[in-house]
């Protein structure tokens, strides 16, 4: 291939448009806009809200959610969904509480590893058995929740030795909660690895068009299994964060985090159909969701409304971000 003398046709095509549309521009800033708008609204409702103390508390609350959402974002980017994250997180809190007396300081790493392994098994099941990720992780969700109940005798397990998780309760510079710093580091590390290696291309190609990715010879199956593994490991890390705050493990501790996590992903603007999005968006999404959660009582809405809000957010965010011209068939 050294003699490329190709005919250059005389007629040039009409110039193809390059830039993103207004809608695309807007959605790419959506999480940040939502965050600022929420902060403004809450400050307006309660001028005392914009204090360092309440912001620190909000940020600390958001950390486990952010980690959960970030991990699951990888699966969504690959075109799948991981519904098992919350149940796996609950199971991991039980495992942590049970293993802590024997493993001591190693427990954190072992629990994250075990959760990653469980995620990997789901990924392999999805890829090898060709089961839709929705079904695979729905089954996983049910199984993990039940296993957590069985091994914990359906009750919380108190943690006596608090040293193993003490580091997560510290504050960097006395202001920023360590758990949130860890969440940011996890998001940054995964994003950086994606950005600097061919992995980002692989993940996006898989999410946008799996058949095209496969026919281009990209390691589609490996990428998917890796995504489920990281999603599982993130559920494990989120579990450690929850334990550090509650001083116990419980089989239902994280069960109410599934909807907020999915809400965080879609509010961030990651396309539920795969390909488009990022982990940073989900981090911002997690902050938005958390602010809503702590903001409801401030504006005088009962917390019973929380679940209604999550349901509405998910539907509204997808309705806003979905490129309907591409989605001809809805299932």
């Amino acid at each position: 291939m050294t003699t490329p003398v190709l005919a250059t046709p005389a007629a040039d095509q009409a110039p193809v448009s390059g830039g993103p549309t207004v809608g695309q521009r807007l959605t790419s800033f959506m999480p940040v806009i939502a965050l600022v708008a929420l902060l403004a609204a809450l400050t307006f409702a309660d001028p005392d809200f914009l204090t360092q103390r309440s912001l620190t508390a909000a940020v600390r609350t958001s950390a486990p959610l952010a980690v959960l959402a970030a991990g699951a974002t990888l699966v969504v980017l690959c075109g799948g969904i991981d519904l098992s994250i919350a149940a796996l997180c609950s199971l991991s809190t039980v495992l942590f509480a049970m293993w802590l007396p024997d493993l001591g300081g190693l427990t954190t790493l072992v629990v994250i590893g075990a959760a990653g392994l469980i995620g990997m098994v789901q990924g392999i099941g999805h890829v090898v058995l060709r089961i839709p990720s929705f079904i695979m992780t729905l089954g996983g969700m049910s199984i993990f929740a039940a296993v957590a109940l069985v091994i914990s005798d359906a009750g919380p397990i108190r943690i006596v030795d608090r040293d193993a998780t003490k580091w997560l309760t510290l504050y960097v510079g006395g202001i920023v909660p360590m758990s949130f710093v860890v969440a940011v580091i996890v998001v940054a590390a995964i994003s950086l690895v994606l950005k600097l290696t061919p992995l980002e291309s692989f993940v996006r190609a898989t999410g946008y068009s799996e058949s095209a990715a496969r026919l281009a010879g990209t390691p589609v199956d490996l990428v998917k299994v890796a995504a489920f593994t990281i999603s599982g490991a993130c559920a494990g890390l989120a579990a450690v964060m929850l334990v550090s705050r509650n001083f116990s493990g419980s089989p239902t501790m994280a069960d109410n985090l599934l909807l907020p996590a999915v809400a965080a992903i879609v509010v961030g603007g990651t396309a539920i159909t795969g390909g488009h999005g990022s982990l940073w968006r989900s981090l911002a999404g997690a902050l938005v969701v958390t602010l809503l959660r702590v903001g409801l009582p401030i504006v005088g809405v009962s917390s019973a409304w929380e679940q209604i809000l999550y349901g509405a957010i998910i539907v509204a965010a997808v309705a806003l971000t979905l490129d309907r011209s591409k989605v001809l068939i809805i299932k």
Binding site: M1, T2, T3, P4, V5, L6, A7, T8, P9, A10, A11, D12, Q13, A14, P15, V16, S17, G18, G19, T21, K195, L196, T197, P198, S201, R204, A205, Y208, S209, S211, A212, A213, R214, L215, A216, G217, T218, P219, G275, H276
Partner: protein, 515 residues
């Protein structure tokens, strides 16, 4: 029957388009198009990709709303806001991608959406429905069983069902309808095309037909007049009687070019090396059996066959994208692992899929990322991507293949079909380790200019020593491009026809072997 004999001062035009304009972001798809369809004529619509053909058609059936301009139906100005409104005015279209539901019978498909007396009190009246469908099929003289499940029919038969279905718009209007056929021949084999043409001529008796094709010979064969679009504008209308393909081609691209660019310009090559690069022995799969195939370095081997011959599956099997049951494949003497596409890529095999938009490219990703998707090492240093390395490499190939794109970072879906295909081809070339290219309809849906560029590139690659297997879009293309042609029929390789420069077989020679 020529166009002239039909023109009558008292007779109004079946359909008239005046100054139609449609903008898309950054593109003027239609820039003041005029079009006249007379009653009982077959009007050809010709134009390169991007000329505005599909936008115009969509405007005629209410799928696209024009920014300016008028549409007149039988002397009456109309606004078409949906397919239903278009049907009410007697305009119907047979789409390029078929729109039948595969697990319903032909009869159900024909009445689907306008069941009329076929449904009473919400319940299907099967007998009435079958009769309705039979009446539609009789109109076009088709012998398809209305109770056959659609997925058991061939592509050509399904097309007949579609025509029968679209003719139901006659019931909505008292006037002869206007039937639009969008690239109806693009996936038909030559024999089926003849049947279709007979059908089109029959339609003319009671309807007007707009026939869209990128094959000029077809347009000239079946149409009374041809209207040519270029760059969203009407550039002229000519009666087909006496028109030459070269003249039409000149109108389409705006300068003289040669339609049969790929014929005869084969470079002289030295004798073939003793051992073929690709050796396939006894390859069997779900749809093909005992296929033997040799391809030498620098050789283009065409595989021809009708639909159902299994040639597409053989091609995919060689790339590890289709399971095989038996057989051995060696590339330069090394046994090939056919278990997956990654092994094939690593061995230096490239595949250009027929479905470019779905399988060939990742639409929202950039030209650069699409080009380096497979050969990641070409843009990496160790495990890390080096943006500068990628930029240099991609820009080099954009220039070499004269890919027209605003920037290497532009999403590939914003390019025209020909430029997209060049990016897909470049994907296999960037690393310089390509040994065998499997080309599944590499010019499908491309305009003439883009086609000849792809032909030149294929020939150039072969001359540089790449072996290629070609599933061509037409027999003429297969004959023009190939050094040797394998005929496949019913899953078996039945004949081999030498196809050297200066000793090419005729399409008729091949058709005899195919059926």
């Amino acid at each position: 029957m020529t166009a002239q004999t039909q023109v009558n001062a008292l007779e109004v035009n079946a359909l008239e388009v005046r100054g139609l304009v449609k903008h898309y972001p950054g593109v003027k798809a239609l820039d003041g198009v005029d079009l006249v369809v007379r009653q009982h004529e077959v009007l050809g619509l010709a134009g390169e990709n991007g000329a505005g053909k599909s936008t115009l058609l969509k405007a005629l059936v209410g799928l696209v709303r024009p920014d300016a301009g008028e549409i007149w139906v039988r002397g009456e100005k109309v606004r078409l806001r949906s397919v239903v409104e278009a049907a009410d005015h007697g305009i119907g279209m047979v789409f390029q991608e078929q729109s039948l539901v595969p697990n319903l019978t032909a009869a159900e498909n024909i009445v689907l959406g306008s069941e009329g007396p076929g449904v009473r009190r919400g319940i299907y009246r099967w007998d009435t429905m079958r009769k309705l469908a039979q009446a539609q099929l009789d109109k076009i003289g088709s012998h398809i069983d209305p109770l056959a499940r659609t997925d058991t029919l061939t592509f050509a038969e399904r097309q007949m069902v579609e025509i029968a279905k679209v003719l139901r718009i006659e019931e909505r209007t008292s006037h002869p309808p206007v039937i639009i056929l969008d690239e109806p021949t693009s996936v038909l084999e030559s024999k089926e095309i003849e049947t279709l043409f007979t059908q089109v001529r029959r339609l003319r008796e009671f309807a007007s037909v707009v026939f869209v094709s990128h094959r000029l010979d077809e347009v000239l064969d079946v149409c009374d007049r041809v209207s040519v679009l270029r760059g969203g504008q009407s550039v002229g209308e000519v009666p087909t009687a006496g028109a030459a393909p070269a003249e039409l081609h000149r109108m389409m691209i705006g300068s003289t070019g040669s339609d049969d660019h790929y014929h005869g310009n084969l470079a002289e090559r030295s004798d073939e090396p003793a051992r073929p690069r690709l050796v396939v022995r006894g390859l069997s799969g779900a749809t093909f059996r005992d296929v033997d195939l040799d391809v030498h370095a620098g050789e283009i081997v065409g595989i021809v066959g009708v639909h159902g011959s299994g040639r597409e599956d053989v091609c995919r099997a060689l790339f590890g994208a289709e399971p095989t049951l038996a057989g051995e494949v060696t590339l330069d003497g090394d046994k090939l692992d056919l278990s997956g596409t990654r092994a094939a890529c690593a061995a230096g095999i490239g595949y250009v899929p027929a479905e470019r938009k779905i399988e060939g490219m990742v639409g929202p990703m950039s030209v650069a990322d699409n080009m380096t998707l497979t050969k990641q090492k070409s843009r990496c240093s160790g495990p890390l991507v080096v943006p500068q390395k990628q930029a240099t490499l991609v820009d080099k190939w954009i220039e070499r293949l004269s890919i027209r794109t605003p920037h290497r970072g532009t999403a590939i879906q914003r390019l025209s079909g020909g430029n997209q295909q060049k990016v897909v081809l470049a994907r296999w070339l960037v690393a310089g380790d390509i040994r065998l290219l499997l080309l599944d309809h590499p010019t499908r849906g491309l305009d003439i200019g883009a086609r000849s560029e792809v032909y030149s590139l294929m020939r150039e690659l072969a001359n540089s020593g790449v072996a290629a297997v070609l599933l061509a879009d037409s027999l003429e293309e297969a004959i023009g491009m190939s050094d040797r042609i394998i005929v496949m029929s019913d899953g078996r390789a039945t004949r081999e026809v030498a196809c050297p420069a200066g000793g090419k077989p005729t399409p008729l020679d091949l058709v005899k072997e195919m059926v």
